[in-house]
């Protein structure tokens, strides 16, 4: 984030030096930044600020009372439920990240290097986005008749005689949650990786081959390092989506598994807004730390 701010700051500093007399020229960059600043301020910073403020308030079942209490935070951080739920959510994030990265990279790799014409690449890429024409919820719920005890998979397996009784853990389990998340979020990995792979100069690969590198060496020493920014962007997408997910966890686990956002949703439906706000602040801090960590490892801007 600090890196991103550098550039406008230096140009803004450079400009008044060049033509100190024209004041309009000096404030032009600020004017140009104003609309975005206003929108972000009103619709991002202000709400976050309000959440932070409310997280210190007192409440009962019906209303909230302005106050400065830390009990919401001590309730959140002091309960084993919170820790367990955070661990569970992080576990989902880690598993889904590994799977979407693996699948996403190979899909993007196939699109970028094995499809020869650009037109075909675009067609196939659009095919990848077809599922997005229906809603998130529908794509998720359609797994239920497939995975259920009497669902497509189980009835096929039983009829083929491969298993004596339906497999129970296919639905309403952590497996189902991970499966649905991978299905929902892989495209968020494919898109940025595909984008970076397309920008790799093909002559680099030719040069590597001329220098005697094997296919794996090219992949490991040329392609993957150059694809890192795309992977980092995809990672940010997937991790933040999984950390904030509640509907997938609730529907696919049959209400048996918990995630941080689901915990917040429960609190909000029980009108405990300050408690949910405290939870939101904790989650926000955690996710920002994770994103900061990713940005430290990979310099996204350098490669774009």
């Amino acid at each position: 984030m600090t890196v991103a701010l550098d550039q406008p700051a230096t140009t803004a500093a450079a400009k008044p030096a060049r033509r100190r007399r024209v004041s309009l020229g000096a404030i032009a960059p600020y004017l140009q930044a104003t609309p975005l600043a206003l929108i972000l301020g009103a619709f991002l910073l202000l709400p976050i600020l309000m959440i932070a403020v409310v997280s210190f308030w007192d409440y009962d079942f019906a209303s909230m009372y302005p106050d400065f209490l830390t009990t919401n935070y001590s309730d959140v951080l002091g309960s084993w439920v919170t820790w367990k739920t955070y661990l569970n959510t992080l576990k989902y994030a880690a598993i889904v990240w590994v799977l979407t990265l693996f699948i996403g990279f190979w899909v993007a790799y196939f699109l970028a290097f094995h499809i020869r014409t650009t037109a075909m690449q675009m067609v196939l890429f659009l095919v990848c986005t077809v599922p997005f024409l229906t809603s998130n919820i529908i794509r998720m719920i359609s797994w239920i008749p497939v995975l259920g005890r009497n669902g497509l998979v189980n009835s096929t397996l039983v009829r083929m005689g491969l298993v004596p009784a339906p497999i129970e853990w296919l639905l309403y389990s952590e497996f189902a949650v991970v499966l649905a998340m991978v299905h929902l979020y892989t495209l968020f990995m494919v898109t940025p990786i595909f984008n970076t792979l397309m920008r790799i100069d093909k002559s680099l690969i030719e040069a590597a081959r001329d220098a005697g590198a094997s296919g794996w060496q090219i992949l490991w020493n040329v392609i993957i390092p150059l694809a890192k920014p795309g992977m980092a962007i995809g990672t940010i997408f997937v991790v933040t989506l999984v950390m904030a997910d509640f509907s997938t966890v609730q529907v696919m686990s049959g209400g048996q598994s918990a995630s941080v956002a689901l915990m917040m949703k429960n609190q909000m439906s029980l009108l405990q807004y300050p408690a949910a706000a405290a939870n939101a602040v904790v989650l926000l801090v955690l996710v920002l730390l994770m994103v900061a960590g990713i940005l430290r490892i990979v310099d996204i801007r350098k490669e774009l």
Partner: protein, 429 residues
């Protein structure tokens, strides 16, 4: 358009507006003087009603419009959101269609006004369950937030619930039912007689309970007591210790894999049952009917410990006055005058005014739904679908048999916040 009119006739824009306003005023005025009872149709009164969905039925709004001319705008929410909305947005509704345990939370905040019993045309016909807590003079009052305990206040401006019937009703009762476990008789493979059967190891991974804390805890309490694990002083108002014991038991059962899922909405419970994921679970009566209407066997099994019951009513928003208040009373009197009652009875719920509802039901319908007799012909739902074939008998039998065996009412506990916190732990465990 006004510009061309200006040129041709010489009427200024200003005078045109004036004439228009006068015409509108005349139209409204002529409506107002055309008299009772069509007054509502003319003056276009709209009542905004919000509630928990069970009785927020479009058919009722349509019929209300046809009979009274009052437009009903209905909003359905879940119970927690209903309680919140009732308290935090008191100006956003005119009629609160909420359950009695929600009323216990909401009424003391002063957002609802008590209603004058003498203005209720059908007050005397209402089932005594909502006045004295007893269906028949010798029945036992059930545990929990029994409707009569929050049914009255001492005076018009009072927010304190009265111990005995007074002239000031908090809500007029409309809809109620007795809930129990739903089962798939074709899949359980044995007789189900007690709430404890849901914990039978034979049904491991094939049971579900509902994930609405205030109701789920009551089902859990019925199960706990049926298993002989504990004897509650009042299931509807547990002590912290009782809550701990109940939740610890649930967590143990969950970790042992007893439950397949926890459901939150009506359709989830229908799907769980219809797909065979679950063979015994907490259920609501219309959900059982929905499963059956798919041609799948499902029974709302009466159990020896009795039913967990719930009841809802209509409350008046505190801001109502004048013509709107009159319209609201008119609406409530219409609601209890029979058509709605018959409609609700035919959906498998119960109307608080059985006398008037009977007039709107056929003899066979009354026999099947209320008297527990075998149906002589096919029993149709209000929208004309066949619900039961001739010869069918209602699960649990007659009205007296079902509502007379209520073990506890849905309730809100003094230790509500603690209970909710522990319930969340159960779901996260």
């Amino acid at each position: 358009m006004t510009n061309t009119a200006d040129k041709k006739t010489g009427i200024s824009r200003r005078s045109l507006l004036k004439t228009g306003a006068a015409a509108v005023g005349f139209a409204a005025g002529s409506g107002a003087i055309s008299g009772f009872p069509t007054i509502w149709a003319q003056s276009n009164i709209t009542l905004r009603q919000f509630g928990t969905g069970v009785s927020n039925l479009n058919a009722i709004a349509d019929k209300c419009k046809a009979d009274l001319g009052i437009t009903l705008e209905m909003t359905a929410t879940d119970s927690d959101a209903a309680a919140q909305r009732a308290v935090t947005q008191p100006d956003s509704y005119d009629i609160a269609d909420i359950e009695y345990w929600i009323a216990k939370k909401v009424f003391p905040t002063g957002v609802l006004q008590p209603m004058d019993v003498s203005k209720l045309k059908y007050y005397d016909e209402l089932v005594p369950l909502f006045k004295t807590g007893k269906l028949t003079p010798d029945s036992v009052i059930a545990q929990g937030t029994a409707p009569h305990t929050v049914g009255y206040v001492e005076a018009q401006d009072s927010k304190v619930f009265a111990k005995a019937p007074t002239n000031w009703f908090t809500m007029v009762p409309t809809i109620y039912n007795a809930d129990t476990l739903g089962i798939r008789p074709d899949l359980v493979g044995r007789d189900i007689t007690t709430w404890a059967d849901i914990m039978d190891p034979a049904f491991k991974g094939k049971t579900a309970i509902l994930n609405i804390p205030s109701i789920g805890i009551m089902d859990a309490a019925m199960i706990m007591e049926a298993m002989g694990n504990i004897k509650y002083a009042d299931k509807g108002n547990m002590t912290k210790d009782e809550i701990d014991k109940t939740i610890d038991f649930l967590i143990k059962a969950k970790q042992g894999g007893q439950f397949r899922a926890f459901w939150k909405s009506f359709d989830e419970s229908v799907n769980l049952m219809a797909s065979g994921e679950v063979v015994i679970q907490s259920m609501w009566s219309p959900a059982v009917a929905a499963v059956r209407s798919k041609g799948i066997a499902c029974r709302f099994q009466p159990l020896k410990e009795g039913y967990r019951s719930w009841g809802g009513g209509l409350g008046l928003a505190a801001h109502l006055k004048g013509a709107e208040l009159d319209a609201a009373y008119e609406y409530i009197n219409w609601y209890t005058s029979g058509w709605v009652g018959g409609y609700l009875n035919r959906q498998g719920y119960y109307s608080a005014n059985m006398v008037s509802a009977k007039k709107f039901m056929s003899e066979d319908e009354w026999g099947y739904w209320i008297e527990g007799k075998p149906a002589k012909g096919d029993i149709l739902s209000p929208d004309g679908k066949v619900m039961e074939k001739a010869g069918a008998v209602r699960d649990g039998g007659s009205f007296e048999n079902r509502m007379g065996k209520v073990a506890c009412w849905n309730s809100v506990m003094d230790e509500d916040r603690y209970m909710v916190k522990r319930w969340n732990e159960f779901i996260a465990a």
